[in-house]
Symmetry: C2
Subunit: 214 residues, 2 copies
DNA sequence: CACCTCTTCAAACGACCGTTTGAATCGTAT
DNA sequence: ATACGATTCAAACGGTCGTTTGAAGAGGTG
């Protein structure tokens, strides 16, 4: 088995287990067992568990972030004012592209985002602030174009609420889709859930300002 | 030290650590060390770590859920049709009441909710389905009164998005409040954040239906 | 006082963790 | 064929984990 094969097998097994059980509830022995590689190969190829976590996150972020940024720039360079839904439609293509990059890639990515977000070590925060700050900036600008009257503090809070909505809701979509199918006979794939969440998010961010201060 | 004292000291220390670091990243030795009790007392008083986790969650849920249900019943028994914001205003009182029950109780509760929600073991799901199903039902009914045209599947998804928004956003509010204070000079307490999130949630749940199916 | 129950305590248990080690093996260029 | 760096492997390391144990302490009752 070639060295690159081993690295990929570890990453593939690790991302499944990390997404499902979290970083610290997944042991290197579980990973190497599922990947069918030797235990020591993780430390040989990645140095430590911490760096493996970063490699798993990085593989997705490097795929997703440039595509998202491109889609956002398209919105920003259009001279017409966008409506809020258009801004969040920019996320759909890059998110779904992850499914061609890897089976269930979209869901896995969002689950990993959720894990990285609530993680104590702050792996995700490190990536977003040091490497992809410009993308965050473009998101802010695009929302600002769609809703210029929104004051910066409200914009800040609502974008954060949106991150929570998206990650939390879409990360656990598999179990929910089963419930929805049983209770309503509604068969939805991940794209269907994304299509459901966009009106919610857009309406939330575009909500009217409360004039009173209580 | 009386036995009840020891139990309370363990619960108090455990909930802080659980909220901050998660359930499995918190060891019984960390808990008993902070609580200044003997290590074995956790197993003596609670049986196991798993049951301690449930006890921590239960202490909050038993305080919160009846109050929430009462507030929801008030909305439901009012013959006038509520607007969506009124439905979610029903959450404010019970949430803030936790601050009188315990220091930073509101934030701690929401952080614990987030931990319990993403946890593999499904501690939270167990409580919500077996013990507080009627409250979930009342939430659904109240939203239904405010927006009768909303079809059940959309209602289902939007309520789930809302849970994600609330838990995810409010659970990590401390760090965000500091950022908001530095960047915008905006000093917000937890009630302020709740006041910010309600228009977002209400607008999201009340979002117009997309007529097209793609 | 002795007795009994509840509680605390230090110590240890076996299991699992991430990591390291040093030898074995592989692939390839000389 | 031989030599050599890259990779794999089984085994072990020290450490932490949740839990258990059996003795010691506390506090009320006869």
């Amino acid at each position: 088995m070639s060295a690159v094969d081993t690295k990929v097998r570890i990453l593939d097994a690790a991302e499944l287990l990390f997404a499902e059980r979290g970083f610290s509830d997944t042991s290197l022995r579980q990973i190497t067992s599922r990947a069918e590689v030797n235990l020591a190969s993780v430390n040989y190829h990645f140095g430590s568990k911490k760096e493996l976590i970063r490699a798993v996150l990085s593989r997705y972020l490097e795929q997703f972030m440039p595509q998202l940024d491109t889609a956002l720039v398209v919105v920003l360079e259009d001279p017409r004012q966008p409506v809020m839904e258009q801004v969040f439609e920019a996320f759909v293509g890059p998110l779904l592209a992850l499914n061609r990059f890897r089976k269930n890639g979209t869901t896995l990515f969002l689950q990993l985002l959720g894990r990285g977000y609530t993680d104590v070590q702050g792996h995700l925060r490190w990536f977003l602030t040091t490497r992809y700050g410009v993308v965050i900036e473009h998101i802010t600008q695009a929302v600002c174009r769609a809703y210029p009257q929104l004051p910066p503090p409200e914009l800040f809070w609502r974008l954060h609420f949106t991150l929570g909505t998206a990650v939390f809701a879409l990360a656990s979509n598999r179990a929910l889709r089963e419930i929805a199918e049983n209770d309503f006979g509604q068969h939805l794939d991940i794209e269907g859930v994304i299509r459901q969440v966009i009106p919610y998010i857009a309406a939330g961010v575009a909500a009217p300002l409360t004039t009173s201060k209580g």
